[in-house]
């Protein structure tokens, strides 16, 4: 294996991050339970029925919700369909390659999807047009444009905004089986706000909203979703290990952070 300057810098940076954490500091000057600033871009960027382009620090994601109508799944005739997909675009990082979603992309998509589903944030039963016959199908396509860490939280926030903004033409299934698409719009009812919070463990300390370098250094990582009743509604422990106290501690920090992020989301929808 060739030794190059990039690896050297990386090793130095690793030690630098760890040293800082030992002194209760972070590379970008944030507190351990402080999120990076969130910016929601103005404008129309897609042909989706609902969309959001957000920046979480230097991480940039674009989420679009496309709608369609179709038959419900046979085992859930009283529920609409939500399909989530994440694309780690090669534009976002020199380490992302073109091709179908890899295990990381699929995990992220499922973590976001699980938070939304577990809190029933969009009310899947409200997507039913005619039980057992016709439902709305929402495709949540999550695009990562610039990867500077914590894609889970950025994509969850963008997804909630995009879903909350989603407007679809009203559809009626007539008795003769004909489908009528109306001019009138039907708006997705965002009834909960399950927000993911990701922590990286470095030197035994929990850092909220890690940047890419902190993610790379972390000995463990975990993502927890908090719903509007401040309950933990979904968890994904990623690499490494945590003590029980650490996880309870993380859930507490996430609970405290919820309203701040939820308010921001409500404001921009």
């Amino acid at each position: 294996m060739m030794f190059n300057s990039e690896m050297l810098t990386h090793k130095l940076l690793r030690e630098y991050i760890k040293d800082l954490v030992a002194n209760d500091q972070r590379v970008d000057g944030r507190g351990f339970d402080e999120m990076r600033p969130i910016e929601v871009l103005n404008g129309t960027f897609t042909k989706a029925e609902g969309e959001a382009w957000i920046k979480l620090g230097k991480t940039q994601v674009l989420v679009g919700v496309k709608a369609d109508i179709g038959e419900p799944f046979p085992d859930t005739p009283d529920k609409g369909v939500l399909v989530s997909n994440t694309e780690l675009l090669p534009v976002a990082s020199p380490t992302f390659e073109p091709g179908p979603p890899n295990e990381n992309a699929i995990e992220i998509a499922r973590v976001v999807d699980r938070a939304i589903r577990s809190a029933d944030a969009i009310g899947l039963s409200s997507l039913v047009i005619e039980e057992g016959k016709l439902v709305y199908m929402l495709f949540l396509d999550m695009y990562v444009l610039d990867h500077d860490g914590n894609l889970e939280d950025a994509l969850t926030i963008a997804s909630l905004i995009a879903l909350g903004r989603t407007e679809v033409p009203k559809v009626i299934l007539k008795e003769d089986g004909e489908i009528e698409v109306k001019e009138e719009k039907w708006k997705v009812d965002l009834r909960d706000m399950p927000i993911n919070f990701t922590f990286a463990k470095i030197n035994g300390k929990l850092l909220l909203d890690p940047i890419l370098e902190e993610e790379n250094v972390a000995e463990a990582a975990i993502t927890l979703a908090i719903d509007k009743d401040r309950r933990v509604c979904s968890i994904q422990k990623k690499h490494g290990h945590f003590t029980m106290e650490e996880i309870i501690n993380a859930a507490g920090i996430a609970r405290d952070k919820w309203s701040e992020v939820a308010e921001m989301i409500k404001e921009v929808i």
């Binding site: 129309t44 897609t46 679009g64 109508i69 976002a92 020199p94 610039d146």
Partner: protein, 253 residues
């Protein structure tokens, strides 16, 4: 099942040459170019052109993986044109299709003549064109964006490549066809030029034109491309503009 049904407009162009979006034959849709919007890419550009939203990013020159693809005497140029699932009225399934494979090749062949490939032997330059929102003319918008992203990445180039489409609706030669004209017009001709010598590096035609119409279309294409080239240069300079102010103005703030 489709939620949206498209209808062909009754009149594509009036006798006076007014088009479905109110433009005259020689008018281009509004354009905005921004350079360097991504942090991790070596170069990037975002172009908003009519209803199009296109993001281009460049990585490299960097090591080639897999290694056997490396060329000993020059850089390997790879391009990917990709449409987002939410870029079209009906959701597009993610992943390459025959159209995007062809467009990737065409865009690469439009851009490559501009790059001093011999400056970077054994390495690769990756160009990614992501269509976030499509509204006719994505390939030419993609060429403009890719060219800007390469310049933003500091890749040695002979010059910028600028591109624009022209077309024919009935007896009118029009520039920058919109969605309706792209769908139901009579001819469509995307073109790109390496501006240092005004050599044509991309030319495709879909639809018949007489000898006279073809010449008129080429001439209109060149005029549009020159206009786009001026915009490109301005977009590239913008981040480096020097702000100057006389000290005597201070009191008036």
């Amino acid at each position: 099942m489709p939620l949206y049904v498209e209808k062909k407009p009754d009149v594509l162009i009036t006798e006076d040459g007014v088009r479905t979006d109110g433009r005259l034959p020689h008018e281009i849709r509004p354009i905005r170019m921004t350079v360097g919007i991504l942090d991790k890419a070596d170069g990037s550009a975002f172009i908003e052109w009519g209803g199009n939203r296109i993001l281009a990013a460049v990585f490299g020159p960097r090591e080639v993986h897999p290694k056997h693809l490396a060329l000993p005497d020059k850089a390997l140029i790879r391009t990917r044109y990709n449409m987002a699932p939410f870029s079209t009225p009906e959701r597009k399934r993610p992943g390459p299709d025959r159209r995007s494979v062809e467009l990737s090749k065409v865009i690469r062949e439009a851009i490559k003549p501009a790059i001093f490939v011999e400056n970077y032997p054994g390495s690769v330059i990756d160009i990614f064109v992501e269509v976030l929102r499509s509204d006719a003319g994505t390939r030419v918008a993609g060429v403009n964006a890719a060219s800007l992203a390469l310049a933003n990445a500091g890749i040695a180039m002979r010059g910028l490549v600028a591109a624009c489409a022209v077309g024919r609706v009935e007896n009118f030669i029009i520039c920058d066809p919109n969605h309706d004209e792209d769908m139901w017009g009579d001819a469509d001709m995307p073109m790109a030029m390496l501006m240092e010598s005004e050599k044509i590096t991309l030319l495709q035609t879909d639809g018949p034109m007489t000898d006279e119409q073809f010449k008129e279309a080429l001439e209109m294409g060149r005029r549009c491309i020159r206009f786009l080239y001026e915009m490109q240069k301005e977009a590239l300079k913008r981040p480096y503009l020097i702000v100057e102010r006389s000290v005597f103005e201070q009191g008036e703030v």
